[in-house]
Structures are given as C-alpha cells and as structure tokens.
Amino acid sequence: MKKILMTIALLYVSGALIQAEENRQVTLPSFKKQNTTIIPRSITKFEVIDKNGQSKIVDLKGKKFIVVSVSEPGSEGKSYAIDEDGLIWWENKISSGAYGGHETPNGIYPILLKRRYHMSSTHPSADGINNMDFEMLFDNRGYALHLGNTNALSHGCIHIGQRDVATMFKWVDKKTKVVIMRGKYGHFLRQEVDAYKKEIKAYKKKH
C-alpha cells in the first residue's frame, strides 16, 4: 500500500514538473526591425517599401543578381543566383548577421569589389588566418558575401560555404546586384523546376 502511494506521489510530482517546463516562457532573441521592406513579386520583380511607406517596384530583368533570404525567423537562410535570362540556377545555404545590432540590412546593392583573399579589418581573426576569403563586397560599410561558417551568425556579412562560394565568386561581376531581404523566395525556384519538368516530359514524348 505504501509503495502504491509512493508511486502515485512520484507520478504527480513528475507530472507537475513536466507541466511547469511546458509553461516556462521561452524568450527568443529578437532581430532588429528593418527600415526598408523588400517583397519579391516574381523572380525578378521586387517591391521596395521605405520607412515612410513609399513603395516602388524594382525589376532586375536582364541583370545578374543574387537574392539573399537572411537567416532569421520567417526567412530561409539561403541565397539564390539568377542569371540575365531570369533563371534561378543556383541555391545554397548561408548565414547572415546576428541579432543585437549585427543584422544585415535589407536593400538592393551593387557588387563593389571582389577579393580572393582578405582579412576583416574590423573583426580580424585571432589566429591570423584570413576570415573573409572570396570576398564580394556590396556595401561600403563593409557588408560582403564571403567564405564563412554557415552554422554561425555573422557580424553582418553573408557567410557562404566552401563549394558554393567558389561557384559564386567565379560567376559574380561588378554588374551583379545583391538583394538582401526578409521572407521567402524559394517558392519561385520550385515553380521554375516544376514548369521545366512538365515541359521536358512533353518534349520527350514527342522526340
């Protein structure tokens, strides 16, 4: 009898502990709200809304560009390369700026310079090993796409992994634009792939 009562008491206590754990409030780190909002309307068209609510459509049709959906809640942590024909030809994982003032700002930027080897002047590495190789600078405040750990948030730059960064570095030139945005873009790639799959299937039936 004593054992049964002990078991019931133990179950009650563990149940209460589980309930308390579930009720515990989890505070997620908050990312800074952006002054500019960028909403993709198609593969090449972006609605840019400034802090006053003024909206304009920027169409990058005919241009090479990279879309970065930052690594924040509600976004993808991915980048996409789009060529002059409006074709999304590459997709890769990235990491962007951390919360607490390091967030990579939304915007549509030009590529300013490319450097195969580079060490950050504001955040040099302690071991003396270059920490910004394959640098593709897109803003004079120091924001760049470069080789980095995609599992760690950055000081504001966009980290790209080894294989993907070499591919991007080869393809990018000074005419290439970089779109930094919050939200999703991957659905355009899925639509593109589905459309091609259908077209290829129909073509193969005839040929």
Partner: protein, 93 residues
Amino acid sequence: MQYTNIFVVGAVAIGLLLSSCSSKQNHVSKNNFIYNGINFGTDKDASYKQGVQDGCYTTAGNYTKNSNRFNTDKSYRLGWADGRLQCEQRIQK
C-alpha cells in the same frame, strides 16, 4: 541422381530469376544519349545534347549557358534544364 536433379532445378530457378531481373532493366539502345552516367533518352539532337552538357557542367559549379541559344532554341533550353535537374539529382544521391 537425386542431388543432380536438385542441382538442375536450382540452376533453372536461378536462371529464371536472373532473366526476369534483366527484363526489368531499361533497354539501352545505341541511339540513347548517355552523359555523366545518365540516360537522357533516344534520338536527341545536337542542340539538346549540348544543352545537357552545359546544364550538367553548371550543376558542378561552373556556370555554362549560351544565353542566345537558350532563348531561341527550344532543344538547347530543355536540354540545359534536363541536364541541370538530372545531374543535380545525381549529386544529391
């Protein structure tokens, strides 16, 4: 004698199993276009083949695409897309 019969029956069974397996494989004729170990189908024209090669090369991280042909030549365009999709699936495997 009994062992010989068992051996013959076993050999016939194995033979039948093997033949049924091979009949399920896709038939590959000499007209098939095989690139990078992938069968892209029969009787593909030169444009399609070039598109497949360029799309496949792009998937490997070397962007290769003839923009002019991509916009004017359907065979090249679909070959490029086919090469990109199928070679990518191969990399992911």
